[in-house]
Symmetry: C2
Subunit: 357 residues, 2 copies
């Protein structure tokens, strides 16, 4: 009953993927719990250095013998806009001083990011990680060829139909269609504009009509209703972030989990304030403070580096007002539970919906 092109491709029991949320949320315990429960656990390795990636892959392997995946960020060239940098440093100084946060001196560098990306890829190949997904772009053709030679299943990310087609043409085995409902960073890589905020009700069927590879729907899906709806629209499975973020095994700090558990859908906003790249999360003081300065902030990843100390110190202090509280548009559906219980409840909900249709 659950078998389809996607479950066969990923070798999983259920077409439920735990989104590879970066920043310490996807602990080995979470990834393994999801995979052990019949879904696909994913390591959010976007911000990890190669050593950290290797360490966590080894850890996950200790906890499960089921398939799991790793997500990487595809680096894009960027330049440092000196004027924006200076403006934003001045803008952030009072917040940094108030929090007594420690700022790193070094700015990101594209060549170094590329170097680290290729090191990450080598680790994935050496470790024979079953599945690898990509965000913020399609990796170079040579990398794709090598990964596929090693039998690694590749998943891309798209925010428009044309991005989805680019992913299929590049050789991806499946594609995550990220709806406007999705929490965290927009995966847009073809053009970063408001036009790529397509709701899943529109995005899935339009993508399905243009693709051969299986579609994984992401954005606002937290239960069996969302999984069934995504399937009706033409997706073969779902990727869920916020739903797993509030689970017991997730590495999100308590204050972050509580923020999602108590939020309403109209408190979730889009902002560039934290990273310089559009992302969705719960509105707070920092977003409000930066609201009218968004066009003066440097692009990703510079802004991400500039706010790192603020986010870190704020998290240590347990103060949600200066943290990035990424969340999809369905916080009212969030429930504190174990990852395996979440998957079980989705499966039983689906049976109920199917019976009533």
């Amino acid at each position: 009953m659950w078998k389809n092109e996607l479950t066969k491709l990923l070798k999983v029991q259920y077409p439920i993927i735990q989104a590879p949320m970066a920043g310490g949320i996807t602990t080995s315990e979470l990834v393994a719990a999801v995979s052990n429960a019949g879904g696909l656990g994913m390591i959010g390795a976007g911000y990890m250095n190669p050593e950290q990636v290797l360490l966590q892959i080894k850890e996950v392997k200790q906890l499960t013998d089921k398939p799991f995946g790793v997500n990487l960020f595809v680096p894009s060239p960027f330049e440092v806009d000196k004027e924006k940098l200076q403006y934003t440093k001045t803008l952030l100084r009072p917040i940094i001083e108030e929090l007594d946060a420690e700022v790193e001196r070094e700015l990101p560098n594209f060549e170094e990011e590329q170097h680290a990306f290729h090191k990450q890829l080598n680790i994935l190949m050496e470790e024979k990680v079953p599945i690898c997904s990509f965000t913020f772009g399609v990796p170079p053709i040579n990398a794709i060829r090598k990964l596929k030679e090693k039998g690694i299943v590749l998943i891309g990310t798209a925010t428009t139909v044309s991005e989805a087609i680019l992913n299929e043409k590049s050789g991806m085995d499946a594609v995550v269609v990220q709806g406007s409902e999705a929490g965290g960073h927009r995966g847009t890589f073809h053009h970063e504009n408001k036009n790529s905020l397509i709701g899943l009700m529109s995005f899935i069927p339009q993508a399905a009509d243009h693709l051969m590879i299986p579609i994984i729907a992401a954005g606002g899906i937290m239960d069996g209703r969302g999984l069934m709806a995504a399937k009706c629209l033409g997706a073969r499975g779902v990727q869920m972030g916020s739903a797993f973020l509030v689970c017991d095994e997730s590495g999100a700090i308590q204050v972050y989990k509580e923020a999602i558990l108590h939020a309403t859908e109209d408190q979730i906003v889009l902002t560039k304030a934290f990273s310089g790249k559009m992302a969705r999360g719960i509105n707070n003081h920092f977003i409000e403070k930066m609201k009218y300065d968004e066009i003066r902030l440097p692009d990703y990843p510079i802004q991400n580096e500039l706010t790192k100390a603020i986010r870190k110190k704020s998290a240590t202090m347990g103060n949600p007002e200066n943290m990035s509280l990424w969340s999809g548009q369905s916080p009212r559906l969030s429930k504190k539970m174990k990852a395996s219980a979440l998957i079980k409840s989705i499966i039983s909900e689906v049976e109920g919906i199917r019976a009533k249709l």
Copy 2:
């Protein structure tokens, strides 16, 4: 198989509502064709004067003995910002001159709008129109009581869960939850901000968990896949705009229909340029030209009046670049056909999906 709380309430065969698009799109032929095919045809009377409403109700009654509905705009108080008015008149002058468009001298007036609204309500009651829906707010409690006494079924519009709850509390019998995917004006009335752009995948289940009255999903739904997805998420039916707009019986001019039939989802944008109220449509020269002036434009309905001559003349000339080409986010799903054929194809698609789930 199709019977549910909504079809019983509306006394229709299928839970498919043709959205009450204003501005001459919902011809009596379209409304009657939808109702005769087992759905619910709706007259978009938002911009009509009372005489026009009466005339069309009588026309529709000649063409069908099935239930149909009328949609009205609930007027909200507004003031004229002299500075914005002057700025925008200057901004629009070159376009008006280029088109040789005829501008009306009189500006809208809240008291007159209220007066017309109550006249419209009286006509609906005298004509015993079976169903009445509202956009841009909840009507006054006295009006609701009188309409219900006459046995008229009332449908509200919401863009957040709290707006949906307000509708239920006011006595509405059903509520349209308008997802971010929806074309045309945002129905937001509680607070007009980006936070109310909730995708249906998130909006429907969160609303369903808080409402007793049936939910009608609107936004980006054009086929059986969308109808089934909406039902899985907790809606009892769907309201479709763009899908019926391109139908043969619709009053949209050919160049407008062609624009939707050839658009892609990433060409659909949100704009305040035409009316002063946020609305979704196909990007064009006018929207691009106004893009950086949006905060300097007067609010609805003033801006709507200021651009009326431009839109009208542009339509007469068959030039889509200065018209409001409202469309939802699924233009790739649009198909030129008869309204009855559209409904039939949805029904047969639904059977197919149900069989495969």
